[in-house]
């Protein structure tokens, strides 16, 4: 686990510039939003995701997340088919704030072409540098 400024960045995940994370589990991936994203949004009160079975393309919208003040799109960090979504978020959207890399996971995705997706994702170290540069 890395810590950059006030933000946690777990080592073994991949990251997008839109602040989503990807955990690879064989041919599947679990995705979510990063600690940086949840801290920027603050007080998340509503999450809406595409349904199980939906096909998503990397960097296309796969849902929205709302704080009291604002609405943000969630961009799919990988391409594939949604095989599970975190139903708990409907009742407890605050899980995204409390545990963005754990209980606040968003969806499970059956990967289409991981190697192609990875070309456009960052490692933890790269994401840490990205955050540092952005916050300068």
């Amino acid at each position: 686990m890395m810590r950059v400024l006030d933000f946690e960045i777990p080592d073994k995940l991949y990251y997008s510039k839109e602040h989503e994370w990807v955990r690879i589990e064989g041919k599947e991936a679990v995705v979510g939003i990063t600690d940086y994203a949840q801290k920027q949004l603050h007080e998340i009160v509503y999450v809406e995701l595409q349904k199980v079975g939906a096909n998503i393309e990397q960097f296309q919208t796969m849902g929205t997340v709302e704080s009291v003040k604002s609405v943000s799109d969630i961009f799919a960090p990988v391409s594939g088919r949604i095989i599970k979504v975190n139903d708990e978020l409907a009742e407890s959207p605050e899980l995204l704030n409390q545990d963005p890399y754990g209980k606040g996971w968003l969806a499970g995705i059956n990967l289409k072409d991981l190697s192609k997706d990875l070309e456009k994702l960052m490692t933890a170290q790269q994401y840490a540098d990205f955050i540092k540069k952005m916050e300068e």
């Binding site: 603050h42 009160v45 509503y46 709302e66 009291v68 003040k69 609405v71 409907a90």
Partner: protein
């Protein structure tokens, strides 16, 4: 953040403890702890807001009352010294130039407190229209600091640092008082729906923020036993929305009239000539075509400004303010809709990101006024 943004006396406090944003040319806190806990502190206890960014203009002179009666819609003659009212300034078409609170300090001296967004526009409008009346119009915005102490424990909090007996200051009344030993002025007003005070620190030059910071910290300390929270612009917005109060630029502007906005109670058409009177008189006689209403979501989804409002396959209006209500834990909105559909209890749909989401028209405020707000049963 850009260096050209204006700052209030509390800038260092805000920067160290809050999340800063740009608002109306000022660098201001949107929240400290978070919108929800700050909002709930005001509904259940007490909260403190820095509202120094708002505009403050003083008018002085024998014809102050006549001038203000001409430039504003409410009845200024009805204001006795040390009382205040909510009012509008309109253009000739009845469109709202701004909404504000007017306080009568003395028989011939008034204080107008208006939106930060309109600081320059309002001052120039007042100066321009004051000429025939020979009154002095003075922008005091940069010399007076201003806070709002809001919530059911506002009086108990503020009393600890004020020498004036605040229990004698009724709603929409004002008084001169020492605040933590410094010269001050308070009015029992606010924009949260709750009981509370707006507090003016009079010797408050920006270059020397010591006095202002002293009063701010004294209020925070006095409110500690009631769980006081410093509150940012985020909670200020959700609180006024729950109370059904307009935000200038969202819910009212120069293209909406006071009557359409449901602010007819501050338009006194029986007064002598005032700016906008003819247009408003005509509109009242003909009837308004659209009206501001409250919407509460019946399904999950948060309405946001510009979302369309639909009924039976027809677009009937649009949302001007919308948020998640921290108190009701539901989406709530203000919308302008065709008057024939604007009936309390009527079911409509808000198009939340392409999805028609059921909502119901409700009266303001959104909360139960016997349980929350200044009229709550103690």
């Amino acid at each position: 953040m850009s260096k050209s943004l204006k700052k209030t006396h509390l800038y260092e406090f805000h920067r160290q403890t809050g999340k800063m944003i740009e608002f109306a040319g000022f660098e201001m806190p949107i929240w400290y702890k978070g919108i929800i806990p700050e909002h709930m502190a005001v509904r259940n206890g007490v909260g403190l807001f820095d509202i120094t960014h708002m505009g403050r203009t003083l008018t002085t002179g024998a014809k102050s009352e006549a001038f203000l009666n001409y430039v504003t819609t409410n009845d200024v003659a009805a204001l006795t010294p040390l009382s205040a009212h909510y009012s509008n300034m309109c253009n000739e078409q009845g469109g709202i130039k701004d909404d504000f609170v007017l306080s009568r300090l003395e028989q011939e001296k008034f204080l107008i407190v208006y939106n930060a967004t309109n600081r320059t526009k309002d001052y120039e409008w007042l100066v321009k229209n004051a000429q025939p009346f020979n009154v002095k119009v003075e922008d005091a915005s940069d010399n007076i600091a201003m806070f709002a102490v809001q919530g059911p424990n506002a009086q108990a909090t503020l009393q600890k640092i004020a020498d004036l007996d605040l229990s004698k200051v009724e709603r929409f009344k004002c008084g001169w008082t020492k605040l933590a030993g410094l010269e001050g002025f308070v009015s029992r007003t606010g924009y949260t729906g709750e009981d509370g005070f707006e507090v003016f620190v009079l010797d408050a030059r920006l270059a020397n923020p010591v006095n202002t910071v002293k009063v701010w910290k004294a209020i925070l300390q006095a409110g500690e036993e009631f769980g006081i929270e410093p509150c940012g612009l985020g909670a200020r917005d959700t609180l006024r929305l729950e109370a059904g109060m307009c935000l200038y630029g969202n819910d009212i502007d120069e293209t909406t009239t006071s009557l359409e906005a449901g602010l007819g109670f501050v338009v006194k058409l029986k007064k002598d000539s005032f700016i906008g009177k003819e247009a408003l008189t005509k509109q009242k006689a003909e009837g308004i075509k659209r009206k501001r209403v409250g919407l509460i979501m019946m399904e999950k989804g948060i309405p946001r400004p510009q979302h369309e409002v639909w009924k039976d396959g027809e677009k009937i209006g649009y949302v001007t303010s919308g948020t998640f209500s921290p108190l009701l834990e539901k989406g709530i909105a203000m919308a302008y809709i065709s008057v024939q559909h604007a009936t309390e209890g009527n079911k409509v749909a808000v198009k939340v990101r392409e999805k028609l989401t059921e909502a119901q028209i409700v009266k303001f405020p959104f909360y139960d006024p016997t349980k929350y707000g200044y009229g709550r049963q103690k």
